[in-house]
Symmetry: C2
Subunit: 403 residues, 2 copies
Amino acid sequence: MTTTRRLHTQQDMRRRNLAAVLYAVADGGPASRARVADRIGLTRTAVSTLVDDLLAAGLLAEAGLGHSGAPGRPGTVLALSDRGPCGLGAEIGVDHLAVCAVDLRGRVRARAAVDSANRGSAPEPVLARLAALVTRVHDEVTAAGLHPAGLRVAVPGLVSRDRAHVVQAPNLGWRDVDLTTGPLAAHAPLTADNEANLGALAELWIGDPVCRTGDVLHISAEIGIGSAILTDGRLLRGNRGFAGELGHVPVRRRGENCACGGRGCLEQYAGEAALLRAVGLDPARAVADHPGPGARSAYLAGRAEHGDPDVLRALRGAGTDLGIALTGATHLLDPHALVLGGALAVLAPWLLPSLTAELTRRLGTAPPLVVSRLGADGPLLGAAHAVTRTVLDDPLRTGTAPG
Amino acid sequence: MTTTRRLHTQQDMRRRNLAAVLYAVADGGPASRARVADRIGLTRTAVSTLVDDLLAAGLLAEAGLGHSGAPGRPGTVLALSDRGPCGLGAEIGVDHLAVCAVDLRGRVRARAAVDSANRGSAPEPVLARLAALVTRVHDEVTAAGLHPAGLRVAVPGLVSRDRAHVVQAPNLGWRDVDLTTGPLAAHAPLTADNEANLGALAELWIGDPVCRTGDVLHISAEIGIGSAILTDGRLLRGNRGFAGELGHVPVRRRGENCACGGRGCLEQYAGEAALLRAVGLDPARAVADHPGPGARSAYLAGRAEHGDPDVLRALRGAGTDLGIALTGATHLLDPHALVLGGALAVLAPWLLPSLTAELTRRLGTAPPLVVSRLGADGPLLGAAHAVTRTVLDDPLRTGTAPG
DNA sequence: GCCATTTCGTCAGGGCTATTTACAAATTAG
DNA sequence: CTAATTTGTAAATAGCCCTGACGAAATGGC
């Protein structure tokens, strides 16, 4: 009952201002203390003491004097450290594994990936293979003077609220897998999240600027059709963390029965399996023939580029059904933009005509449709950036656990 | 580009802690300084100085010594003042006007209402009639020692981002009406909001406790079918403030054409007009025959109670279509609960069977369906409470404008 | 080259906020 | 009546940011 208000102690104030300094440098680029003070509205004096702490913690670094040509003493340029903490991101795909490391400046400093038939496999060998990749990347960035502050794992499924367990990953066949007990968590504190969520966050942080200016619905099809709702710079997760299941929004009143228990779900008409079936392929065979992230989409895109009429018709139909589902979502959320990520970004050229037609027909003025430029890399980059974000948000780690 | 972080000054800290004290008393009930300190995690000393300011501002009042029976010196009980600021709420319905005043304790101290055929009327006479009600309520509470801190107006339509204009109210026939220039704003700073939003906020603040514990979708049909998304104790408004238009979510791929430009919209099957037509009535005639808030719903409920087969069938169908739309919304938002407010609350007994059947069939486990106990009073009470909330949130008015 | 001007970073002093410590006041338990 | 407990306040302290002032380091005009 008691709505305990987050109360603000002086430490909270300090923490926020430390974060404000870091974000001023992260978003606005390297700058002197005086310029940072102008950006965030504090005095030079206050910024100086904040910067002292951040230099001591190894989060900021001085990069010499800045020559601007303007009169006045030049300031010492402050930049985010490229030898301080970094974030490790990992991705468990249906048929591949990937790991990368990102420094505070947002640069990818190391990455590794392998094909891996994870569908239907027991978790242990998959996690062991992934742990080997993590070790490789970890050693590489450690040699470069970085120290990983955490490891976030992108999972194609539902993740528990404490971010430690995979509750359910239908496309892997996993249920209730604890990620923290295995060898994965050996190098850095581990947290997990849904890949669609991380893909959307990547878009928010390093993707199209339109995502930073309002509420956005980020649609990201891989095997299923997921989505993520970004509102006010944050992710809407829902009660159990299951929000964004666009693939199971009904688009036909009496349609195909779906594995989710419903019928007429969007996924039955615009999902990868539906597309493959519509062009006369067996989904299971196709996955075996074209393994790897985005391989089926690339295959379909290839056929579409050659004008294959079956593929073109299938994509046209998928665009229309996607348009129906997104009409409903737009009425509910009134988003600032709709972003197509993952496989949808690759297939966008052939989906967009019927999709935009359906949206404008039903909505009059549809929100702008943006195609992600991160594509299949979104979830992996989002995972790594999620870690560096926790460092920037609470620079001196006065908080307890990484968010 | 520069994501300007809200920086925290000492004044911000103070403001938050002042608000924390007020909410500790508002949510947890009257209590001594020491007990408040325990509730919000500050020291007794700090709470004492905060309370001093709040007493001086007339927001808190000392209510004698508390006798608990436990050993130790009894504390002086602090309660929210019932003679300090209050909130004025007003409602512009299609066929009625209402105003009420709520004190900081949440009690309704005065109210007034009249039937008024507003549909199709020019704004000026309507606003003049409403202003007369406001004056009556204002004088009444002023005589009781309260001073109104603001007036919030609930409008059945879309409100501009600055909360001063009605952008569009189709059921009134209004477009671009400035509310602040008329006689309405004479007594207190005026802001407007959508009635569905305010109904949902009322549910959050004074309604079912389930709304306070997670994300909630609040459905409130009056003439149209609106909804509001509560996430993390706040309202999701969307890009233009149009979020929550549940009535225009498609439930039929090729259905009736709707005034919104779409087709197969939920409102065509579960809206008030559709229900009236389904039982053989002309919607316009029915509104004339049964004016007033909730009158058509009450009429339909009356016939349903007598077992009228046409009405029962119509409500069954509406429940099913509502279930389809809410299935999609649940997949997108994963809400903690679905709340039925407004006319839906009255008709709930006959809607719920087919609605829950559709939801459980499609979702497996549906979120709990809660029937609002505020009913038609929601928007009006929400409007008044919205004002008192701005007082509690920033007790000493260091901020500029009321939110 | 020299000096005025401008900007940068830091130091000293002060104000605001909450905490610590201490203490008087008011109640219950025995 | 005394011991124990709890309440509210006062004084001193620590943390954080601001104001004002100052030396340092650049540019521009002479």
